[in-house]
Amino acid sequence: MTAVLEKPEVAATAPPASRPLAPRGVGKKLLVYLLLIAGAIPTLLPLVWLVRSALMDSGQIFVSPPQWIPKPFAWDNFSGALTQVPFARYFLNTLIIEAGVLVGTVLSCSLAAFSFARLRWKHKNLVFGILMSGVMLPYAVTLIPTFLFWQKLGLVNTYVPLILPHWFGTGVFNIFLLRQFFLSIPYELDESAYIDGATPLQVYWRIILPLSKPALAVVSVFTFLGVWNDYLGPLIYLNDSDKYTLAMGLASFQGTYTAQWGYLMAAAAVVLLPIVLLFAFAQKYFVEGIALTGLKG
């Protein structure tokens, strides 16, 4: 397992690793292209269906056999979907949670990772091992007591249960990733700073963090995706519909407007679009992060 986990870190700095030998002959190249295109069709078809449905009026959407080109382009599906349900509100709610979770995760996980990677203290490795053992536990086991805990505090139906745990390094996998990255930074940097009288906190902030932007980007992208995709959390903790996140709003929209496929697909496209944009700008971190984290989320 660890073999895979450590590989991309090397890949990020080392020159590109080996590739199989180039295909010999035009015949093989042609075959590769044919297969690539043959596979791309079923891969893209559902997304094409999503876009075409989002742009069709309800007259055309139920024509059999189905048509592929919207005529006319029903852009009002988007305005319709966005006004039927307060998606702007859900968007804002999601961003509030995103901001709280992102800042908390990056701060608490990088501080802990810094301590585990660069500072010497007693039983450090034992403590680290215990923290990491938490990865093994399915979330279902802690779900109910955690819910009862927040209920007792009267904080159900607020964003606190969705944000606050992330300020306490609960994304332990992030601690693992950041620690791995911090370990690869030369220790001479810290030592010369300490000789100049810096405190560990200054070393963390002025030396380690600026050198770790790629790792922090990976953690941020995946934390962002985790919040964006989370359905169970908001489902359990949020009761008032004006507090819903996008994922929840979308699901409840699905429940109420079952036959309005133009609207529903437009709404789904709206939830998908920011992720496509994020992917366009941060593709490298997506790919690195998946190679690092496996299938998390």
Binding site: M1, T2, A3, V4, K7, P8, P20, L21, P23, K29, L35, L36, A40, T43, P46, W49, F62, S64, P65, C109, S115, R120, W121, V127, L131, G134, L137, P138, A140, T142, I144, P145, T146, F147, F149, F168, G169, V172, I175, P200, L201, Y204, W228, Y231, L232, I236, A247, Q254, L264, A267, A268, L272, I275, V276, V287, I290, A291, G294, L295, K296
Partner: protein
């Protein structure tokens, strides 16, 4: 200089790790203990918890058909989805690893389905599965096959959800691709010198060198599939006729619809044990087929 720079460093060390340590105790360790204790009670929200010993566990195995249904649905889904997912992802990774022009574009195309947020994805697939106007029946009809009811029929609901999950092969394919790029080139060259063809390269180098990556993906995919939830919650509500009553969804309903916190906690612990058992079995068998390089420290 101060007498104790070491001591100071240790103090900082504990201080900076403290939030994470508190988080572990408060949000992992204590809830885990609490969950075990609650699983021994009959606790409906609003009433006082009552200690019942192992009654919740005996009820599960002797008097709860839904438990077995949910266990079966989850295992069926896992056994179907994981092998298919791994095979498709491996084939795609092999293709994407071929050095041809436009490789980057194809990588983006093949990865796209994996970034669709799960709730949006679920909605898209309800529509694709629509028996009258959906894409899938259009395609099966074109191919001369009979129409299917997909997720709306007891017998095809799980296979349909398996098909949907295979569409998200991109994540696993990326892991495989990273693995393929790490296979040392000299190995292929050695086979080429010996006059071996593409099949021999694949069978004697690519496949053995990839077994650790395959094993890692197998374990994480199985653990993920056993905890499938959103598809049941958004698409099928466990139906039709409980055929997609996935374990976590059943647990969710027990806890948050029926408010049976004690029984739901017992369900959670059984899931934990099932996941542990499956993981142990996978690791036990791994020595037979997972190849680690000689001299590797792992």
């Amino acid at each position: 200089m101060a007498s104790s720079p070491m001591k100071q460093e240790a103090r900082w060390g504990v201080l900076l790790a403290l939030p994470a340590i508190i988080g572990f105790v408060a949000f992992t360790f204590l809830p885990m203990i609490a969950s075990a204790v609650i699983s021994l009670t009959d606790w409906t929200i609003g009433a006082a918890p009552k200690f019942v010993g192992f009654a919740n566990y005996t009820r599960m195995f002797t008097a709860d058909d839904s438990f077995f249904k949910s266990l079966w649905a989850t295992l069926y889904y896992t056994l179907g989805a994981v092998p298919l997912l791994l095979i498709v992802a491996f084939a795609v990774a092999l293709l994407l690893n071929q050095p041809v022009r436009g490789q980057g574009v194809f990588r983006v195309i093949y990865y796209l389905p994996a970034i669709v947020p799960i709730v949006a994805n679920s909605m898209l697939w309800i529509w694709l599965f629509n028996p009258d106007f959906g894409l899938l029946n259009t395609l099966t009809e074109k191919a001369g096959l009979p129409r299917s009811q997909w997720i709306f029929d007891e017998s095809t609901a799980i296979p349909s959800l398996i098909l949907m999950s295979v569409w998200g092969f991109g994540n696993v394919a990326v892991i495989f691709l990273a693995g393929l790029q790490g296979v040392p080139r000299q190995l292929y060259e050695a086979i080429a010198v010996d006059g071996g063809g593409a099949w021999r390269k694949f069978r004697h180098i690519t496949l053995p060198m990839m077994t650790p990556t395959i094993f890692y993906s197998l374990v994480t995919s199985v653990i993920g599939a056993l905890q499938v939830f959103v598809q049941a919650a958004v698409m099928t509500e466990g139906g039709p006729n409980d055929s997609t009553l996935f374990y976590i969804y059943y647990l969710y309903r027990t806890a948050f619809t029926n408010n049976e916190m004690g029984y739901a906690s017992a369900l959670a612990w059984v899931l934990f044990l099932v996941i542990m058992a499956v993981t142990v079995v996978l690791f036990r068998n791994s020595s037979r087929w997972v190849y680690y390089e000689a001299g590797s420290t792992r």
